[in-house]
Amino acid sequence: MASKYLIEGPVTSVEISVYLDGMAAAKDTGGHSFFLGQVRADFLKGKIVMAIEYSAYESMVNTEADKIVESVTSEFDDVRSVRIIHSTGVVRAGEVSLAVMVSAGHRQQAMQACSKTVELIKERLPVWKKEIYEDNSHAWRENQ
């Protein structure tokens, strides 16, 4: 998989460590704000969600995520870095399927920009999810 925004399977602590290690040299950064989206074991119509299988339109993820990063860094001029990692394939309940990591000179814009990035991802990223239940049945879900 060629996309810098997609990872096969769950996001792990490795990806988070890599980001933080990479930011250690950024001496003008005073705050990081992270959002980690985790697969929740929802109970729906008598069934428990065991996992979610994500699929993505990779080339369009690349163009849309580039636009999201550009939009957020334009809007929040104190932001130094925006990193988006979204899972594809199967992610089990309790595992992380989205990481948004934002670094800024100060905490206020780090947190605001992180929140904005998550909302833009939910609105614009061409990713789909299929909930897989304990009986191996499945259902497709949409963002509200």
Binding site: S59, L125, P126, W140, E142, N143
Partner: protein, 77 residues
């Protein structure tokens, strides 16, 4: 020369494929008729259309080598 149509999410399940090639298609509505001839079920689903990674509303011409994607409502994050 052909165009490539990609199906995502529930549409990939409904069509049983992630993609199909079509020849001799002139615009998006022409393409829609050809696709629903092959996969009538698609008419029951909501989706948007991307042409070469750009969401398109309404009619648009298609040329050989274009990539069209049928995109159900997103569910990222």
């Amino acid at each position: 020369m052909e165009i490539k149509v990609l199906f995502f999410g529930v549409l990939a399940e409904v069509t049983g494929t992630g993609f199909k090639h079509y020849n001799g298609v002139i615009n998006l509505s022409d393409l829609y008729h050809r696709i629903t001839d092959d996969f009538p079920e698609i008419a029951h689903y909501n989706f948007r259309i991307a042409l070469n990674n750009q969401i398109i509303e309404g009619e648009h011409p298609i040329k050989p080598g274009d990539e069209v994607a049928y995109l159900p409502p997103f569910a990222g994050g």
